[in-house]
Point group: C2
Chain length 297, copies 2
Amino acid sequence: MSDARPYKVALVQMACGDDAQANLKTAVACTQEAAGKGAKVVCLPELFRTRYFCQKEDAKIFDLAETLPGESTQALAKVAKAKKVVVVVPVFEKRAPGLYHNSLAVLDADGSLAGTYRKMHIPDDPQFYEKFYFAPGDLGFKTFATRAGKIGTLICWDQWYPEAARLTALQGAEILFYPTAIGWLSADKNTEGPAQREAWRTVQRGHAVANGVYVAAVNRVGHEPGGGGKNGGLTFWGSTFLCDPQGVVLAEAPADKEAILYGEVDPARIEEVRRGWPFLRDRRVDAFQDLTRRFID
Amino acid sequence: MSDARPYKVALVQMACGDDAQANLKTAVACTQEAAGKGAKVVCLPELFRTRYFCQKEDAKIFDLAETLPGESTQALAKVAKAKKVVVVVPVFEKRAPGLYHNSLAVLDADGSLAGTYRKMHIPDDPQFYEKFYFAPGDLGFKTFATRAGKIGTLICWDQWYPEAARLTALQGAEILFYPTAIGWLSADKNTEGPAQREAWRTVQRGHAVANGVYVAAVNRVGHEPGGGGKNGGLTFWGSTFLCDPQGVVLAEAPADKEAILYGEVDPARIEEVRRGWPFLRDRRVDAFQDLTRRFID
């Protein structure tokens, strides 16, 4: 069996307000608290420094971006080093004048930068106008060998793509972290809301099953006003969860409250589940070439 | 919106006994009954002509194979033509001396052969010794434009592979049919059973969500004795189900009884769901090349 040890992870479900410094302070405090409770990896939600600004398109908003490394990673690297904890830090990344990404840094447990990931799949839907703000990632899919364990990172819209989960898991990830900002539009919260959230849970639990890995979705929570007019804002649905390599939900946060969720990643459990159902052995890699096509007409 | 009409499908959950003629008779009767109730597509379970013989390895068992087209397809083609119904007919296919496949035929609503599919992913686990019996499929992933609608077909172990679902859906399938023979080993039915069945449901509902297609899993039911010794046989878990393009289960059969399950496939609902969550638009087809690798070391 694997000689890797189990490790505790913490998923920070937070509300994000107008004050970027206050949001950073909350993230630092939650990371410290989680490390104090034994977490070896802490994951923060997508774009946690700000409101989810993609509800409208406004070029002034690019002022909110920061460099990577930059203010957020510096503040959290101090915690990572002091508490010997790995931290997944989502950042609105300013890469060059006029070039921005929806990114994250993985800080290792000594405070060093283990690496970065740039969101590969960029959505664009009413009140989720991300294609205006973010260039698609160009670093590919990533797994990082940290002092705690091998962790794969993806961001929000990536969570709907089996290809993204697979390519990350094939690099040896024991857990896929999905920092997220997903919520309901006011217009269809009541009619479509439950089915939307259940689809979101299901597809990610499906990635866990198909790949034999742990999956953690880390969402923000709370209502954020929209851009005026008919835009009634977004209610982020929280529901941060951790599931095991068989898709069993181990821990789940409420839909409407901040929370730090804890759970354990056990590499021996991954080995056990994959021996029982050895999907990786039988993939028809000789027949997958057309996955690089948009559609097969 | 799409101008294709909704159509009714029927999923035949049956027990399969020792008598191949009796099993065929049951399949014919169920297909007739389903067509009489308005089904435009009927799907039978994997290897329905026989017991699930892969519980042991015995070369004499190859005698059970038949040609394709052959006895099963001829009998069901008569029903297809008479009742104007599309039928998915799983067959233990004898292709050449010493060369066998786990296959299916799609019979169009005029009784003609719309095409065949050969199971691409072949399992091999205790009491599921399929690699002994079946050569891996060499026809690739398939969608068939039938008189009822565009249907994709996969078989059992394929259901764990997101790549297989994707490559079938990308050909325009409105529904993925998974004829199946999956059950519990007596040894771990009580301890592992519920989690196994839930993982099976979840990964397939995940395919529905990720691809915006209907998914139908069509399983056999009942206990079948094993090969003697410690082999306590298999209890097939039934639980045949149909889910919609958002992963919502529309109909589900019991775990322990024969049943014909009915549901509707509505192409307009596929269009609606995909407009809401346009995953196909954003796939990073430029970054998927490594899906043809076994692992990324």
